[in-house]
């Protein structure tokens, strides 16, 4: 009888814990879902070893359920292809995943609850996602997504003015980049000798890691975004 009671107690504790993480995730989702569309201005800094590109002014357009477009205001833009996951709605919008409570963690001094999302569709590209939720503000501070073909993406968010909508002021997107090799004999490079002041990447694995940092300047929320913006031109 005692054993049965202990088992019942353990099961019920687990159930309560699962409820909590679901409720918390739903609260965070509810904030995000208040946004039907937005247009945001941001500056994007791309940091990939083989790519030396200037800081770009970009416009980001979003429309429910999962339309997202990044456009450079001027110049040539290199937009990370996995940037589609910049949209948290895309990550949490589907109900077709199982939520597992993975305990707590600490991000920049904030205690966060960790939820692992396992998609019901086992054949999809996403294997699992882990989200780190600030319990006090019901905001997702970090999300990691592991995919079959494109490695792991990570999003780190810092919130400010638009926290009520679950929209970050700053977002760091980490991704895997394939190493870049120019075909031989196409460049006729000038050998300018050693460049002592230039930083040089020693670790070949680091050449395969990329980071894009977006600092949002303004959002225009729920004012309507034309569908033609999302068309690939």
């Amino acid at each position: 009888m005692k054993k049965l009671l202990i088992v019942c107690l353990l099961l019920s504790t687990g159930f309560v814990q699962a409820q909590d993480i679901n409720t918390l995730l739903n609260k965070a989702k509810a904030k995000i879902e208040t946004v039907n569309d937005y247009e945001a201005s941001a500056v994007m800094k791309t940091n990939v070893a083989f790519l030396k590109v200037p800081i770009a002014k970009v416009k980001i357009y979003f429309k429910k359920p999962n339309k997202l477009k990044l456009k450079s205001e001027r110049g040539i833009s290199f937009i990370p292809k996995g940037a589609v996951s910049l949209n948290l709605n895309n990550l949490t919008g589907s109900d077709k995943f199982k939520v597992i409570d993975a305990g707590t963690d600490n991000i920049k001094g904030i205690v966060v609850r960790v939820a692992t999302l396992l998609p019901a569709d086992k054949t999809g590209d996403v294997i699992l996602s882990t989200v780190y939720i600030d319990e006090a503000r019901s905001l997702i501070l970090k999300a990691e997504t592991t995919t079959r073909d494109n490695g792991t993406y990570a999003l780190e968010m810092t919130y400010g003015t638009y926290a009520a909508f679950g929209l970050p002021d700053k977002l760091i997107f980490s991704f895997n980049a394939k190493d870049y090799k120019l075909p031989k004999g196409v460049t006729f490079d000038f050998d300018d000798g050693a460049a002592p002041n230039m930083p040089k990447e020693k670790d070949p694995e680091k050449r395969k890691k990329g980071k894009a940092e977006l600092v949002f300047k303004s959002y225009t929320i729920n004012k309507g975004v034309d569908d033609t913006i999302f068309l690939n031109k």
């Binding site: 790519l51 030396k52 590109v53 040539i76 075909p183 990329g210």
Partner: protein
């Protein structure tokens, strides 16, 4: 001096071979422009695995600045041959026609005569580069428009893409053309030197082309002992130094620093070596011309 230079320029302008270089450059530039306008597929070769990770608006990559860089990359290796056509003819052409002896009977020093011929060769070289700039840069800007410039390069075995914003490009082209003029002046000085020893134009032109080809091959061998000993002293190692103006410096987070160059010291040293070659070749040409026994 000025009238002598005018006469020299008049003589150059009257030779049909002078225009071969202009026709060749125009032909190559127009073919490249037409090919890129019709089919920008070359970009797929350059951006092969970048495409897997990034969405790149390729329509903006092929612009006037990129086209000029591509054309200079292709042409500036061949232009020395075109410069040799005129500079190699400077003295030997006169000797061949029998006018050299007549010329030297005038009360003008040999030093002045060869100096004017060298100056005329430099003017021809600059004219060739200005013509190239008009077609490769300004015509490309009209045909393809302007945008940021992407520079593709290999550095220490690693490939890189450098993006230069369009407001930071023009001064680099100006500097690159000035550098190219200095580099090609080395070829003009060499051809002039060889021209002093010949009685017809073919010899010095062919000899100049052969020297440029042999030295270029050695410059590109990438054998460590040659890299250390011979390569630093060959002028051909510095003919593509104009690219140094497009190797923009970048910070620890890989963000290019506007208005900067990665290694100005290297370009400065390249210029020093090129000037030294000009001095040696032209000095030797003056020395041997002054001592030359004119028999033709």
């Amino acid at each position: 001096m000025w009238s002598l230079l005018q006469i020299e320029l008049y003589k150059i302008s009257k030779r049909p071979r002078t225009y071969i270089a202009f026709i060749a450059i125009a032909g190559i530039v127009l073919i490249i422009q037409a090919a890129f306008k019709a089919d920008p597929g070359y970009l797929n070769i350059l951006l092969q695995n970048v495409d897997d990770t990034f969405a790149v608006d390729k329509g903006n990559v092929i612009n006037g600045y990129f086209m000029c860089y591509m054309i200079l990359n292709t042409l500036l290796i061949q232009v020395p041959i075109l410069v040799a056509l005129v500079a190699g003819d400077a003295i030997s052409g006169e000797a061949n026609m029998g006018t050299l002896r007549l010329l030297l009977t005038k009360p003008i020093s040999r030093q002045k005569i060869i100096g004017v011929k060298f100056l005329a060769s430099i003017i021809y070289t600059v004219a060739l580069l200005v013509f190239m700039a008009l077609l490769a840069l300004f015509l490309s800007m009209i045909i393809f428009g302007t945008n940021d410039l992407l520079v593709f390069r290999s550095k220490n075995g690693e490939s890189e893409i450098l993006q230069i914003t369009q407001d930071d490009v023009m001064w680099r082209y100006l500097a690159a053309f000035v550098y190219a003029a200095i580099a090609l002046t080395v070829i003009a000085a060499l051809a002039l030197l060889l021209s002093v020893f010949a009685e017809n134009s073919i010899g010095p032109i062919v000899a100049t082309v052969c020297i440029v080809i042999v030295c270029t091959i050695i410059s590109n061998l990438n054998v460590p002992i040659i890299d250390r000993t011979i390569k630093p002293w060959l002028f051909t190692s510095y003919l593509v130094g104009w690219k140094g103006f497009f190797y923009i410096a970048y910070d620890a987070e890989n963000v290019p620093i506007k208005g900067s160059m990665e290694n100005w010291a290297s370009i400065r040293n390249s210029l020093f070596i090129l000037f030294a070659h000009i001095g040696v070749f032209f000095g030797a040409a003056v020395f041997f011309f002054k001592k030359k026994d004119i028999l033709s």
